[in-house]
Amino acid sequence: MTNPTSSGRLNMRLGYRFNLVGVSALGIILLWAGVALFAPQIIPHSVGEIVDADYFGPMSRDLWFGSDYLGRDIFSRILMGARYTLGISLAAVSIACFSGVALGMTAAVAGGWCDSLLSRFLDALNSIPSKLFGLVVVAAVGSSIPALIATLSVIYTPGAYRFARALAVNVNTMDFMVVARIRGERLPYLIASEILPNILGPVLADLGLRFVFIVLLLSGLSFLGLGVQPPYADWGALVRENIGGLPFGAPAVIFPSLAIASLTISVNLLIDNLPRRIRDRSAE
């Protein structure tokens, strides 16, 4: 940013600076989001239809990413899988972060026994290994999409709670919190108006990171056969289905893995390169 280029001028107008890596990462995420939204309209073949006589077929003009272990079109299956991977993860991360952050801020502001009780309870939840917890829940209630979302959000709430509480405790000691308290403000105003705006940046970064964890855990559960059940398949399930193609170097196992990698890496890169507000705007 030494010479004012045209992108520099655009940045100035928006009041934010956004670098190239961040823009490309955001592009990939938006691409996958678009795919998830419009998958039924754009898939070239039906997901369940066997289109190739051969199994683990190579890439061709008709079947872009080859065929899977039953001879189905892997390209269409990945596009449809994006719905499950993105949708379930997004729902779970929203629930986990919302409840975790709300509870964390409440604990920090209220303090005392409320803080101790919440912290110990969520620490106890946190101490259960996440995959094992998933296994137990699926064994007990069976695998369905609502159950998956609920399980994933319960697993990731304690982490979000700890993170938000640690941030909120720091903000809570500032003088403006004392001023607000002595003005006579109540808890909802304190957490929503005084604390939240100050921790929003890190909380959003944490949300992105937790999204990645959930995508990976969901893929892991699906790989073990506990996640999304056939005939539907998310990306993790696609890898598991086609794991037999690994000795043949089949594209059917490589492309779902690449899809998982591209999404998680993009989210990470976006978090590291979030647009930053330009404070010096006197050149406008």
């Binding site: 308290r181 705006p197 929003l200 404070r279 006197s282």
Partner: protein, 553 residues
């Protein structure tokens, strides 16, 4: 080598903002320092005084770069050296004493290890030799227990001692120039005297040249041979200390001098006040921290049985050094920290000890303004949002009436309307303190507790804030309780002054009778305030017994 030890010629430093714009912060400064001479750089914050001092080590802060001119120290141009060559000179040729020694020491290492670190890094001498040398420096800086103080950890010595130890650390490499970056700003006046004396004798003894960065003209008057007045990165005026103090020509220098001599309050004592009902009466208030013992007393008592009385429209000052309990007293009155014993009667009604036991109206009538406007204003909210909240909360204002009132408040504290949409981080220190004050005014209180509100501000800005407080009092008839460690500020605004020491009120004195304090601690405190007189420190004779009883050597 000819001429002066330090020669700065046409120095330019540029900073790059986050929008990629370049700003010149030092605009062609030239100055010389002779061997053994101490030159003071004085000016408000942002005037570039620390930046210039740092260039003596060839250093520019992150985002800044030296873009022109030369800085010759002992004939070597620091600007042209490589980073490795500069590192060789730092500590041995030029050394640095930071503003906050507490932040500069590593809490995990003993003091001795850190003091002799410079000798070890530059391989100047063996560890035993370095320790022997450190011992001599400790003695020269008149530190107590010089033989054993090196074995302690930084948190085991007082702030004034740590500041002198930081000087020892800087001096051990036998530098020719030492940079003192506001080394006494964070200290109490009683401690400051000792530290200044130590610095003065050591620099004279070793014939060390120094750059003394400060915004306090009276401190500088004691230690500097010459004064350089800076503003906006340019030299405004330069001259021998006496000439500047007595005949400063430049308007900014005059402003600085004028700010240092606040006009004593010209208020005739109000004859009717005796019959009036007092606004605030505090009776035997005890406040403390920590768990309560069996008899219901707190572990640490910060305020012990303090009583005070304040009449409507009058002002009360509370002074004392850090840790004397003056802020705790204010917090107890405001209800932030519930008192353990005693009564607070406001307008004839007894107040609940904790804020949550008071009614909204009682909370509204007493407002508190904190020292650090940076932390007292929510950095994520605009000035407008900050001021709107108390208006809606206490007065139920909405929409246009509220917006008009926000404009009125900004007018009251002399801020332009354009700051409405700014965030606190985009305002200067003085502006932030005004917003902080406007928020208290928004509640329409009858009493404002001002907790060191001018301590973080420059002399000129602080004087303007005090002026503003006086004007508001005339317009709105508010009372103030003004807490400060700076006698001159309290003197300018208060009718009565309470002196506190270790949680107890030692004396209450009318501002008209300040010249004749009775309690020995008050005498010590008042005599420690530096005066605009170059001979003040040398002539100051302190009663050794008083210093032993109340000082922190």
């Amino acid at each position: 080598m000819t001429g002066n030890l330090v020669e700065i010629r046409n120095l330019r430093v540029e900073a790059t903002t986050d929008a990629g714009r370049r700003v010149e912060i030092i605009k062609g400064v030239s100055l010389d320092i002779a061997e053994g001479e101490i030159v003071a750089l004085i000016g408000e914050s942002g005037s570039g005084k620390t930046t210039i001092a740092m260039t003596l080590m060839g250093y520019a802060r992150q985002g800044c770069a030296i873009t022109g001119g030369e800085v010759r120290v002992g004939g070597v141009d620091m600007v042209k050296l490589s980073e490795a060559e500069r590192a060789g000179i730092r500590g041995t040729g030029v050394a640095y004493v930071p503003q906050s020694a507490a932040a500069a020491f590593n809490p995990a290492l003993t003091i001795m290890d850190q003091v002799i670190e410079v000798a070890r890094i530059h391989r100047l001498m063996s560890a035993t030799e370095a320790q022997a040398k450190a011992l001599l420096l400790f003695k020269a800086l008149s530190l107590p227990h010089p033989e054993t103080i090196g074995n302690r950890y930084p948190h085991q010595v007082s702030g004034g001692q740590l500041q002198r130890l930081a000087a020892a650390m800087a001096l051990i490499g036998q530098p020719k120039v030492v940079i003192f970056d506001e080394p006494t700003t964070a200290l109490d006046v009683t401690t400051q005297v000792e530290v200044l004396r130590a610095f003065k004798s050591v620099t004279a003894q070793h014939n060390i040249a120094g750059v003394y960065v400060s915004h306090d003209l009276a401190v500088v008057a004691q230690i500097a041979d010459r004064i350089v007045v800076l503003k906006d990165g340019t030299v405004q005026e330069m001259g021998a200390t006496n000439d500047i103090l007595e005949g400063g020509q430049h308007p900014y220098t005059r402003e600085l001098l004028a700010a240092f001599r606040p006009k004593a309050q010209q208020r005739e004592p109000d004859g009717k006040s005796a019959t009036k009902r007092p606004l605030l009466e505090v009776d035997n208030l005890t406040v403390g921290y920590g768990p309560r013992s069996r008899d219901g007393q707190p572990l640490i008592k910060a305020v012990q049985a303090v009583s005070l009385k304040l009449d409507q429209g009058r002002n009360l000052g509370i002074i004392g050094e850090s840790g004397c309990g003056k802020s705790t007293l204010a917090r107890a009155i405001a209800g932030i920290l519930p008192a353990h014993a005693g009564d607070i009667v406001f307008n004839g009604r007894e107040l609940g000890k904790a804020g949550r036991n008071r009614t909204r109206n009682e909370l509204r009538e007493i407002q508190i303004v904190f020292q650090h406007a940076d932390t007292a204003l929510n950095p994520a909210k605009s000035v407008e949002d900050i001021l709107r909240r108390p208006l809606a909360f206490y007065h139920g204002m909405r929409g246009k009436t509220r917006d008009a009132r926000v404009n009125d408040l900004l007018d009251l504290v002399r801020l332009p309307k354009s700051v409405r949409h700014r965030l606190p981080g985009e305002l200067s220190g003085g502006q932030k303190q005004r917003v902080n004050f406007a928020r208290a005014l928004a509640a329409e209180p009858t009493l404002i507790l001002c907790d060191e509100i001018t301590s973080a501000l420059d002399t000129v800005v602080a004087a303007a804030v005090v002026e503003l407080l006086k004007e508001l009092q005339r317009e709105l008839g508010i009372s103030y309780i003004f807490i400060s460690h700076d006698l001159s500020v309290v003197e300018a605004i208060c009718d009565e002054i309470i002196v506190m020491y270790r949680g107890q009120k030692v004396e209450q004195i009318a501002s008209t009778r300040l010249a004749a304090p009775e309690h020995p601690y008050t005498r010590l405190l008042f005599s420690s305030v530096p005066k605009l007189d170059t001979r003040w420190l040398d002539n100051l004779e302190r009663d050794a017994e008083q210093v032993r009883a109340y000082g922190h050597p």
